[in-house]
Symmetry: C2
Subunit: 228 residues, 2 copies
DNA sequence: CGTCCATTTGAGGTGGATCAACCCTAGTGG
DNA sequence: CCACTAGGGTTGATCCACCTCAAATGGACG
């Protein structure tokens, strides 16, 4: 529960509100004349739980977040990873449908869901942008269903590497914030299968490691072919 | 392409516009003062293709529709089945992201995407309802990712039966419009595995057949437990 | 420098896929 | 009215991609 977290951590403070170009959160917050608050979560901390009321909408500033669903026996499916710039926790209904946790120490900007609702009720453009965001999430989910239902382990790992490369490759190097188990739970595989696939890609010269989570892609075209 | 289909079939005519309670399509169309047109597709006919411009939004009146994505080698993932009352083909962006086909002879109501856009641009409530629909699709996709990534064959089939029971059980009998291959491609399984799971459920007295696609559930609670 | 995890690697097992008959039923035409 | 056919469905036998279990390795951090 966030309100508790607020009290057990530092108090929120207003962010500088740097509305970058292409920053969807900034676009909405700015449009709606809302003030975003910064907040920090430490490694492995829960941000919100499945079925909890959706009190806030979040944007990752620094760090990384995963969202997941659990089966009663502990089997876990990660629906998405959220990296700096990504918005998460936006629900059209009143409750969150997945649990969100910080993968590493993470700073987020957040706005009250209710203020967004209020802004959306009077400004079509705000509603339109919220709809577009949800539609983007849906598109990701549709692609991921194809991956989970029909792709082989190697195809899944290749697709994962290209997705992460696209989303967080600053320089040539890709620094993965998540462990092998997280990757497996995202791809519907075990951590061992993920590890074996990465090792095979390394053996075939398609990627290089400098530490298990520091990866350099050497042949993106080959990966694209492999991801089917 | 629909315009071609229109010419090769009967001309569209205005529907009676019976705005039922709880009919989301009716709510939107009515609110936006739009006129819905009825149209028929025959068995196995394509309604729209992946990446085609999203010219229309559809609602099933009679029949059944499936939407899917294909890999280059023909592997197929069905994202959703649409049954009478369901809306499909609604995109926030300008193109369809899956292919939609009629499973059996199907009648749909449709409205121009552009008129919806126009109505949404001036009426927050319309936009809000469109957003809610997309959010509903996203929720279904999130549940389905858990199924595809983490559930066993039997759990998937049990979940499928409960979903269909919930959506199309008129009396006690459930009349499935789709073949075993469609079910398999929806659940990320082969048609043989689906058939074997159904046979086992029959042997265990959890369901009865009267024809391969006429199913009566005898123990829903047991199915609920099995679907994990 | 030792402890603790994350990761890798190995060996063997298995759930579901694949390949192959066979069966059932609806539709067709004689 | 019935024989024939075709397509969907079932069932069996075998295979294999991935999981499971186990152990070794490595890297980060006190």
């Amino acid at each position: 529960m966030l309100t508790q977290s607020v009290s057990t951590h530092e108090m929120p403070r207003n962010s500088k509100l740097p509305v970058e170009v292409g920053d969807k959160f900034g676009l909405i917050v700015g449009r709606a004349c809302l003030v975003a608050t910064e907040f920090k979560y430490s490694k492995e901390e829960e941000i919100y739980g499945e079925n909890e009321p959706a009190e806030f909408v979040y944007q990752v500033v620094r760090g990384a977040v995963r969202s997941h669903k659990l089966l009663s026996d502990g089997r876990r499916q990660i629906g998405a990873f959220y990296l700096p710039g990504d918005v998460f926790g936006l629900e059209a209904s009143s409750n969150h449908r997945l649990t969100a946790e910080a993968i590493i120490n993470t700073t987020v900007r957040l706005v009250k869901h209710s203020s967004l609702e209020h802004a959306a009720a009077i400004d079509v453009e705000v509603t339109r942008r919220l709809w577009n965001m949800t539609a983007g999430d849906l598109q990701h989910a549709e692609n991921h269903m194809l991956l989970l239902g029909r792709k082989t382990a190697m195809e899944r790992v290749a697709a994962f590497l290209l997705e992460m490369d696209h989303r967080l490759s600053a320089a040539a190097m890709m620094a993965l914030p998540m462990c092998r188990r997280d990757i497996g739970d995202y791809l519907g595989l075990t951590l061992e299968t993920v590890s074996r696939a990465l090792s095979e890609l390394h053996d075939r010269g398609i990627l290089d490691f400098s530490g298990a989570r520091q990866i350099v892609l050497r042949n993106r075209q080959h990966l694209r072919t492999m991801s089917a």
